[in-house]
Amino acid sequence: MKPLHSIIIALIVILSGCNGNNKDNLNEKASVSALDALPENPLLLSPITFSINPNKAAMSTLYGNKIAFQHAKTKADSSYPNGAVLYEVNWKQKADSLWYGANIPDQIISVEKVQFTGNAVPKYELYAGHPLKKVSSNDENKRIALILSKRMAETP
């Protein structure tokens, strides 16, 4: 009987191992890491809209702080008030392993910060690399214009 018992126990252990729930099901790779030199974690701000760039297999989400989000929600224009902060977070895409037909965020390529300080032109910062570090940008004006052209995704 004893060997039979140990076989049954071994089987239970093996089978429960197979059927066990995935404990850590987070998309760590697509998240901000403790090593990224960002002024704050943009993923914790309010999502305004998102976009996809199929040519680069990339996807981006536009986040705003409270002031920026409130503005985006109520006014459909780019004249954000003083104190508004926007973040455009750009991810590489990867195929969703749970649904053929979908792409989800992979690693963050870059984070762009647009801050309204009262000056005519908002302050622009670009963070790129792994981990993310502040770098200089060649097409700052173009990027600011593009980010400010985005409107809140519409829901009824």
Binding site: N25, S31, S46, I52, P54, N55, L98, P156
Partner: protein, 326 residues
């Protein structure tokens, strides 16, 4: 020895008697024509692996006709046809046909289909890697947006979306609850984004919002199972191609909620399921059991507490560690 023979004889008689007891006759063998607009190779695979339970054309093996096996077979076929019947293919509109094939293919990829109990006795119905590749390549051609498609940057958007008149709903208490008694939750736009999804299969794009309890659960790694009170709002928009080839959120399609309450929603896997469609937020579902459809689609991810979304790690504390050491 004599006793053994007696038992065998009794069993044999019982078995033969059992054979007079058969399940209610179901339509077994009406020929199903090939699926319209689907290549022959794909048709062959579907016919071979799916049609026995998902069409009116059934090829039964001799052992399928023996009682009690025939009862199991009959119930599989009835359930299978209810979920999807390829004999009704022509009744579906084209987008629904595509959605059906993507849905079926994902059931195959997840290992849920064909049923293991079926392939154990009908090994030829199993899909090999080559068949999977054939289906995958075919699906890539019918996706609304082709995967990794290069969009030329000068073309103008093909279908110019009508800019919706701003008929935003002002009184959300007038939005009808779903038939399983879930009320609309209007404030999800203030929640955090748990993830985003680019559904090139049907040309939609989604932000999956999580409420405070869901976000806290992520920070604390308590996401499997999710705690009571966690709510997700999966919001879908049409993909709208801009002049520069990028895609932005176009017309609103629907918002779907999953509300966790292990006790209250015990009968529906611990979640309350709800969906509101279109700008008038019409509750989805013809009867109170519409949520079975939600569950059956989410079933392949039951080991993830029925949640498809792999959440971004929204950990406030982790980030602060960096700021402290800076």
């Amino acid at each position: 020895m004599k006793k053994g023979l007696k038992i065998f004889a009794i069993l044999l008689v019982a078995f033969i008697t059992l054979q007079f007891w058969k399940p209610e006759e179901i339509e077994y063998s009406t020929p199903t024509k090939d699926l319209t607009n689907v290549p022959a190779e794909v048709n062959t695979i579907l016919r071979n692996s799916c049609f026995d339970c998902h069409s009116n054309t059934v090829n039964l093996a001799w052992f399928d006709k023996i009682t009690p096996a025939n009862f199991i077979v009959a119930s599989h076929i009835t359930d299978g046809r209810k979920a999807l019947n390829f004999s009704d293919w022509d009744k579906l509109e084209k987008p629904k046909q595509s959605a059906t094939l993507f849905y079926a293919f994902n059931k195959i990829l997840s290992g849920e289909m064909p049923l293991k109990s079926y392939t154990a006795l009908h090994p030829s119905a199993k899909l090999d890697d080559r068949s999977i590749a054939v289906l995958k390549n075919y699906l890539a051609t019918i996706a609304v947006r082709k995967p990794n498609q290069e969009i030329p940057s000068v073309t103008h958007p093909k279908d110019v979306e009508k800019v919706l008149p701003n008929k935003k709903i002002t009184d959300y208490s007038k939005v009808k609850p779903t038939l399983n008694n879930i009320s609309y939750i209007p404030n999800f736009r203030n929640w955090k984004a748990v993830s985003t999804s680019d559904r090139f299969d049907n040309g939609s794009m989604r932000i999956i919002y999580g409420n405070e309890i869901a976000v806290k659960a992520i920070a604390e790694h308590q996401t499997n199972p999710w705690p009571d009170g966690a709510i997700f709002a999966k919001t879908a928009w049409k993909q709208k191609t801009e002049a520069d080839g990028t895609i932005s959120a176009g017309a609103f399609i629907q918002v779907e909620f999953m509300i966790k309450d292990a006790k209250k929603y015990e009968a529906t896997k611990g979640w309350g399921w709800a969906r509101w469609k279109g700008n008038d937020l019409k509750p989805y579902g013809d009867n109170a059991n519409f949520d079975q459809e939600c569950i059956s689609c989410h079933n392949p991810v039951k080991n993830n507490d029925y949640v498809f979304t792999t959440p971004l790690h929204l950990d406030i504390n982790k980030f602060n560690i960096y700021n402290k050491t800076k």
